[in-house]
C-alpha cells in the first residue's frame, strides 16, 4: 500500500525447468496497476506454468517476482493471498456441499484470519452474512443464497467463484482461463463480470478465447515456447509477424 508505483507486479528473468525441460525462460513481465493484462499463446507455450509460478504452485528455478516493489519469490500461496494476490481456477473452484452464501463466507473467514475457534457457535458467523450478500449481489447471485453451490449451473459457478475471490478484496486478481469450457452466452456474461471486477483492481488472466482477450485486455503478452515474444495492445500484437508465425505456422508470416 505504501508503494503505489505504476507497476503492481514485475517478474525479472523468470525461469522454470522441469528436469531439463525449460517451460518458462527469461520472462520479464511488467503489469501496470489497474490494467487487465492477458497472457496468450499456443498450447504448450508455458502459460499455465507461468501462471503457476505467479500463484506459487511452483517455485521458479531462477528469477524473481516483485509485488508492489516487494520480493515475493519465496512466499507460499496462503502468504501471497494475504498480501492481496488471489487466484481463480480453470475448473471453477467452489465448495459444492456448502451453500452459495457459505462459500463466500469462507473467504471472509479467511480474510479475517484463521478460524480455529471450534468452541464457538456458528451464529458468530451470521454477522458476515450481509457483507457476503453484497459480493453475491455484485455477480448477480443474490437470488440463490441458500442453494447448494454444487447445484449451480456451470456459468453461475464461475460467478460464485469470482464473488468468493472478490470477498478477499484482492489488489491483484489472477484468472486461469476464466471462460474455459463455456458456451457463448456464459462467455459473454463472464466477460462482463471480469470487466466489472476490473474496476479499481488489476487483473492478470491466461485466456484462450481471443475474442474475450480483444475485448477486455489492455495489455497482451504473447508467450511462445516459454518466452514472451510480443507485448502490447491487441492491434500491436495481432500485427506482429512472430505472433502470426506462432499461431498460424511459418508459411503465413
Amino acid at each position: 500500500m505504501k508503494n503505489k508505483s505504476d507497476i503492481i507486479l514485475e517478474t525479472k528473468s523468470l525461469r522454470k525447468e522441469f528436469s531439463g525441460f525449460v517451460a518458462v525462460s527469461g520472462v520479464n513481465l511488467k503489469v501496470r496497476r489497474g490494467s487487465i493484462h492477458a497472457i496468450i499463446g499456443p498450447n504448450g507455450a508455458g502459460k499455465t506454468t507461468l501462471f503457476n509460478l505467479l500463484t506459487k504452485v511452483h517455485q521458479p528455478t531462477d528469477g524473481t517476482i516483485e509485488f508492489n516493489g516487494r520480493d515475493i519469490t519465496g512466499l507460499s500461496s496462503p502468504e501471497i493471498a494475504r498480501l492481496g494476490i488471489v487466484r481463480s481456477f480453470q475448473i471453477s473452484a467452489i465448495f459444492p456441499e456448502l451453500t452459495v452464501l457459505e462459500n463466500v463466507r469462507i473467504a471472509l473467514q479467511c480474510r479475517r484470519g484463521d478460524s480455529f475457534d471450534f468452541w464457538k457457535p456458528k451464529k458468530t458467523l451470521f454477522r458476515m452474512n450481509d457483507e457476503a450478500r453484497g459480493y453475491l449481489e455484485s455477480v448477480g447471485l443474490d437470488d440463490s443464497l441458500n442453494s447448494m453451490a454444487g447445484d449451480l449451473p456451470y456459468g453461475r459457478r464461475r460467478a460464485l467463484e469470482i464473488a468468493t475471490t472478490l470477498a478477499m478484496e484482492p489488489e491483484l486478481l489472477l484468472l486461469d482461463e476464466p471462460t474455459a469450457g463455456m458456451g457463448t452466452e456464459d462467455i459473454d456474461r463472464t466477460a462482463d463480470l471480469i470487466q466489472r471486477c476490473a474496476k479499481d483492481r488489476t487483473i492478470i488472466m491466461v485466456e484462450h478465447n481471443l475474442g474475450v482477450v480483444a475485448r477486455l485486455a489492455d495489455t497482451i503478452s504473447v508467450q511462445v515456447r516459454g518466452q514472451v515474444v510480443a507485448e502490447g495492445n491487441y492491434e500491436t500484437v495481432s500485427a506482429d509477424p512472430l505472433v502470426k508465425e506462432a499461431y498460424l505456422g511459418a508459411a503465413h508470416a
Binding site: I94, L98, D117, F118, K120, K122, L145
Partner: protein, 322 residues
C-alpha cells in the same frame, strides 16, 4: 425491508440442518434413557463407547475428508492406561480416566504431526502404520499384560457415586457419551467446522484464499484422538478389561465401518452404525457365523448400495416432506 428478508433467508438452511441434528440428539438421548429397561445395559454401554470411536473417525472422514485407519491406537492406549492406573496404581476412576485420555490425546498429537502432511490414500496408510507400531509396542510392553491383557479393572466410584451399582455406571457412561456427542455437534457447527468442510470440499481453494489446511487438519486430528481416547477408557471401565483387540487394526476398521454404515458426515450416523455393528457382532457370535465375513459383506453392501449410510439415506427422505 430488504434487510429482514435476507436475514431470514440466509438462516433457513442452517437452521434446517441444525434442527435435524437437534432432533437427532433428542432421539438419541430418549433412546438411551428408555432402552436399558428393555435391552441388556452392558450391550448399550458397549455400543456407546464404540459409538464414540465411530464419531471420532467420522469427525475426520465426514467433515475433513481424512480416512484414518489408526484410531485403535488412541482407543486402545487409553484403555490400557486407564486399566493400569486404576488397577495397578489405584488412582480411582476420575483421575485414571483423565490420565488415560490425556495420554491418548498426546499420542494423537504425535500421529498428527506426521500424518497431516499426507493426503488421501497415503494418509490412511501412514495412520495404519503408526497404529501398528503402537500395537506391537503393546504386545511387547510389560504394563499391558501381553496376551492376557489387564483384567479385573476395578470400577470404584466417581464423585461419591459407586460405579459398582449398575445404574450409576450406566448413568456415568451415558453422561460421557452425551458430552462427546455435544462436543462433536459444537465442532461441526462452529466457524472452525465451517472451514473443515471447506477443506474437505476443496483444499486447494482454501489455500488460495490464504488459509493453510494443514493446521486445521492438525487440530481436527487431535480433537478426534481426544474423542477416541474417551471411548477407549469407557470401554475399559465397562468391561473391566483392556486387551490387545482394543489396539488391533480391526478396531480401527470397526470405527470406519460404524461411520460408514451409519452415514459419514452425519452427526447421528456413527451412533446408529455402532448400535447396528455391536448388535450384529453379538448376534452373530451366538449363531457362530464369522464376524469378519459379515463385516466384509456389510462394508461391500454399504459402498455399493447405500453410500450415504443409514442416517444419510434417511436424510434424503426429508425432501419428500416439503
Amino acid at each position: 425491508m430488504n434487510e429482514t428478508k435476507t436475514n431470514v433467508q440466509s438462516n433457513i438452511p442452517v437452521l434446517d440442518r441444525w434442527n435435524l441434528e437437534i432432533i437427532g440428539i433428542v432421539l438419541v438421548v430418549l433412546f438411551f434413557l428408555v432402552a436399558p429397561f428393555f435391552i441388556y445395559p452392558v450391550f448399550l454401554m458397549k455400543a456407546m463407547s464404540y459409538a464414540i470411536l465411530g464419531m471420532s473417525v467420522n469427525l475426520l472422514l465426514g467433515y475433513v475428508g481424512l480416512l484414518s485407519f489408526g484410531h485403535a491406537a488412541f482407543f486402545g492406549l487409553s484403555a490400557y492406561m486407564f486399566g493400569h492406573f486404576a488397577k495397578e496404581m489405584d488412582f480411582g476412576v476420575a483421575l485414571s480416566m483423565l490420565i488415560a485420555v490425556s495420554g491418548g490425546t498426546l499420542l494423537g498429537v504425535l500421529f498428527a504431526m506426521i500424518a497431516v502432511r499426507r493426503i488421501e490414500f497415503y494418509f490412511a496408510m501412514i495412520t495404519l502404520a503408526l497404529a501398528q507400531l503402537v500395537y506391537f509396542f503393546c504386545v511387547q510392553a510389560e504394563f499391558t499384560g501381553g496376551d492376557d491383557g489387564l483384567q479385573g479393572i476395578p470400577r470404584g466410584e466417581i464423585l461419591g457415586f459407586s460405579l459398582l451399582e449398575n445404574s450409576h455406571l450406566y448413568g456415568f457412561v451415558l453422561l460421557m457419551f452425551l458430552f462427546c456427542l455435544l462436543f462433536v455437534f459444537r465442532i461441526i457447527n462452529s466457524p472452525f467446522g465451517e472451514m473443515l468442510k471447506a477443506i474437505r470440499e476443496n483444499p486447494e481453494r482454501v489455500t488460495s484464499l490464504g488459509c493453510s489446511p494443514r493446521t486445521y487438519k492438525f487440530i481436527a486430528f487431535v480433537l478426534s484422538a481426544f474423542l477416541a481416547s474417551i471411548g477407549g477408557a469407557l470401554k475399559a471401565l465397562v468391561f473391566q478389561i483392556a486387551a490387545l483387540p482394543d489396539v488391533h487394526w480391526l478396531m480401527s476398521g470397526d470405527g470406519v465401518l460404524m461411520a460408514l454404515v451409519g452415514g459419514i458426515g452425519t452427526l447421528i450416523g456413527p451412533i446408529v452404525g455402532a448400535l447396528f455393528i455391536v448388535w450384529a457382532q453379538d448376534g452373530l457370535a451366538e449363531i457362530g457365523m464369522s464376524v469378519v465375513v459379515m463385516q466384509g459383506l456389510l462394508f461391500m453392501a454399504t459402498v455399493l448400495l447405500f453410500r450415504k449410510g443409514i442416517v444419510g439415506e434417511l436424510g434424503r427422505l426429508k425432501k419428500y416432506f416439503r
